[in-house]
């Protein structure tokens, strides 16, 4: 009997939908639906395609960060330097373009810089045995410093129209399928699949769940850790460039606290910061809830002081709700 249940669990769409409905994520889906419903009632412009585009666009950078942080958290790490690195990447791209480099070369260079940076962090973590918390706090300070140094503290204008396409290109002329939105969704889907279905993805869970066991099971913790930080920092580099393209400027002071938005979304979406637990789909829900909520508060013209309170309260509420649901489910069984 056990075997047959196992077999029936296929990976088709219908089944996936069913799984979601009975999964851990259901309370998040509900929370999201409630938020959308309430704001739609309170403001008629909330539930419109135009607003959806606006929310998705502003979520595009945070989305990339959320994916990267979710992967890292599952692997029992985190990266607190991505805000600085995103700013640095935008500034670096803008400066390279100003030097007359073509857009393609610029993008590749900045991505490569991101990869190197990720490798440096991974080196500190795997070889020098630092905790990723402290290594990336240090890196945050360093990269912010460099962002200011290379730009001399000023925003750097971007005029290269090819590069600016990263901010405004519309696939098939569709205004909801701009490059930032498309790329974010692509990254979610891609890493959703990688995490769930590939060997590499599985190894992230194993490494995050019990690194000692992972090593003895022949998994290279080094390789996994390097990959995780490189992925995170490449996503950050691209995200930073997309932001710069959207703003037409690389800005050294941009993205302060970006890492927290990403980590918060991931944790709200059920990713554990103790390693080994979580999914990209959950992280996406976490992101959707946070962004949908923030956007609604702005649209309702809630005073910014109260916005702070409301956001914090939302987080606590959502997690409490989730806890109660899980507890009830346990009892029900």
């Amino acid at each position: 009997m056990e075997q047959s249940t196992a077999k029936r669990r296929g990976f088709n769409f219908k089944q996936t939908l069913k799984n979601i409905l009975r999964s851990e994520s259901i309370s998040l889906v509900l929370a999201f639906v409630v938020i959308v419903a309430v704001f739609s009632i309170l403001n008629k412009n909330y539930f419109t395609s135009r607003n959806l585009i606006s929310v998705l666009t502003s979520a595009s950078l945070t989305g990339l960060i959320t994916v990267g942080e979710a992967l890292l958290l599952i692997g029992n790490h985190m990266d607190l330097s991505v805000g600085s690195t995103a700013a640095f990447s935008g500034v670096m791209a803008a400066l390279l373009l100003q030097q007359g480099l073509p857009a393609g070369v610029t993008i590749l260079t900045v991505v490569a810089a991101g990869a190197v940076l990720g490798a440096v962090i991974a080196f500190c973590v795997t070889q020098l045995k630092m905790s990723s918390f402290i290594a990336t706090v240090a890196m945050q300070s360093i990269m912010r410093g460099f962002a200011f140094i290379i730009s001399n503290g000023e925003g750097v204008l971007i005029t290269n129209s090819t590069f600016l396409k990263m901010g405004n290109f519309k696939f098939f002329g569709l205004s909801f399928l701009t490059f930032p939105i498309f790329f974010m969704l692509l990254v979610f889907v891609l890493f959703g699949i990688i995490l769930k279905r590939t060997r590499f993805g599985r190894e992230i869970y194993i490494v995050g769940g019990n690194p000692v066991a992972a090593r003895l099971a022949g998994i290279s913790i080094k390789f996994t850790t390097y990959m995780l930080f490189i992925i995170m920092n490449v996503l950050t580099a691209i995200g930073g460039m997309i932001l710069a393209a959207r703003m037409n400027t690389g800005q050294p002071q941009a993205c302060v606290g970006l890492e927290f938005d990403g980590i918060t979304a991931a944790i709200l979406g059920g990713v554990s910061n103790q390693g080994g637990v979580g999914s990209i789909f959950g992280a996406f829900l976490g992101l959707a809830i946070l962004q949908g909520f923030n956007n609604g508060l702005i649209m309702l013209n809630v005073q910014s002081f109260w916005q702070n309170v409301a956001k914090g309260a939302l987080l606590l509420l959502a997690l409490t709700f989730d806890y109660i649901r899980q507890k009830n489910r346990q009892k029900a069984k």
Binding site: N43, N45, T48, R50, N51, S54, V55, T57, S58, L61, F148, G153, E154, G155, V156, L157, T159, L243, R246, M247, N248, T249, Q251, P252, Q253, A254, C255, V256, N295, I298, M299, N301, Q303, S304, F305, Q307
Partner: protein
């Protein structure tokens, strides 16, 4: 009251600019009860912008608008752009903005132009690549304000004979906030005019992030590094810096012979309200009520009557001290 005379009222610049809807105005006159104005401010949690927003709101409602939306961009370009999109989505009639970074000017103007919504820059100008203004502006001129501080301080030093070997100038700077950089530049310039030969060895700079305790650390470090200096002349780009430097002087026992001058008024007034006089002698009062009310008035006049929006209005910098601050700040002195 905004006194046009005291401001540098350049004649309206070429009207090619997109967001100056002055003559491209197709249907300026709108029924007042439908008008909603959005104010998007780079740091909506700062007292400055709260006051500015309140003044703008009051003016708009007074002139018959239906609503005024106050939006905080939290110094975050992304939040700012989302706020702008939002305002446009909600179909506001006019937008007042203070951008978190002036490099966001072009995007702002482009988006408003596309949606056909008039925009006025508040506090910080909207500038193109070459530094030309691309939208009407009501605001503060950081450089000029800095100059006023430099001048006042230099005169104070002269009057009090603070020129000897035991005296030094300290500029606390906020290099990471672009709108604050010209303030320091203005201070340096007018100080240099009064004391062209002021020695470089007795001129110091120290950077902080805008918070008072960081200013304290930045100043205290310089004070201890130079024990031969007994009299300090400190100029800062905001009131937090001035208050922090003052506390550091007090801790070092140097406050009696020193002078600190800031920019703002919001913390200076607390300082002036104390019985005992501190080293924090003066600040350049920049009046958020003026900026808020005047930007709103211009916008409403345009929307209601099609009156052209004046291209430029600078709120004057007035130096205030313990003696005159109540008079000048009026309500804001409370």
């Amino acid at each position: 009251q905004p006194s046009e005379s005291s401001s540098v009222a350049e004649p309206a610049a070429p009207s090619s600019s997109a967001a100056a809807p002055s003559e491209s105005s197709s249907e300026p006159a709108a029924p007042a009860e439908d008008i909603i104005i959005a104010g998007i401010y780079k740091a909506g949690d700062q007292q400055w912008f709260i006051g500015e927003g309140e003044a703008a709101k009051q003016k708009c409602i007074e002139m018959g608008a239906k609503d005024f939306m106050f939006i905080d961009a939290k110094m975050n370009p992304d939040t700012y752009l989302q706020a702008l999109d939002n305002a446009i989505t909600q179909g506001v009639s006019g937008i007042l903005v203070c951008v978190p970074d002036q490099k966001l000017s072009q995007v702002t103007v482009d988006k408003c132009k596309e949606a056909g919504i008039p925009v006025i820059a508040a506090d910080d100008q909207l500038l193109d690549e070459s530094g030309e203004m691309i939208a009407p502006w009501v605001g503060i001129d950081g450089f000029a304000i800095g100059q006023a501080v430099g001048e006042w301080t230099a005169n104070y030093a002269k009057e009090n004979n603070m020129t000897g070997e035991d005296t030094a100038v300290l500029y606390l700077t906020m290099d990471q906030v672009s709108s604050c950089v010209p303030r320091t530049e203005g201070q340096i310039e007018s100080w240099g005019k009064v004391f062209p030969d002021w020695p470089a060895e007795r001129t110091f700079r120290s950077d902080y992030n805008g918070e008072q305790d960081k200013a304290y650390n930045a100043a205290a470090g310089v004070f201890t590094a130079n024990p031969s200096i007994k009299k300090w002349i400190v100029m800062t780009p905001n009131d937090e810096g001035a208050a922090g430097a003052t506390r550091a002087l007090e801790a070092a026992g140097l406050d009696k012979e020193s002078v600190v001058c800031g920019i703002g008024g919001y913390l200076a007034k607390l300082e002036f309200a104390k019985e005992e006089e501190s080293a924090f002698k003066a600040t350049a009062f920049i009046n958020y009520v003026d900026v808020g009310a005047y930007s709103a008035e211009n916008m409403m006049n345009y929307l209601l009557n099609g009156t052209e929006i004046p291209w430029e209005f600078k709120t004057p910098a007035v130096m205030i001290t313990k003696e005159n601050y109540k008079e000048i700040m009026k309500d804001q002195a409370e």
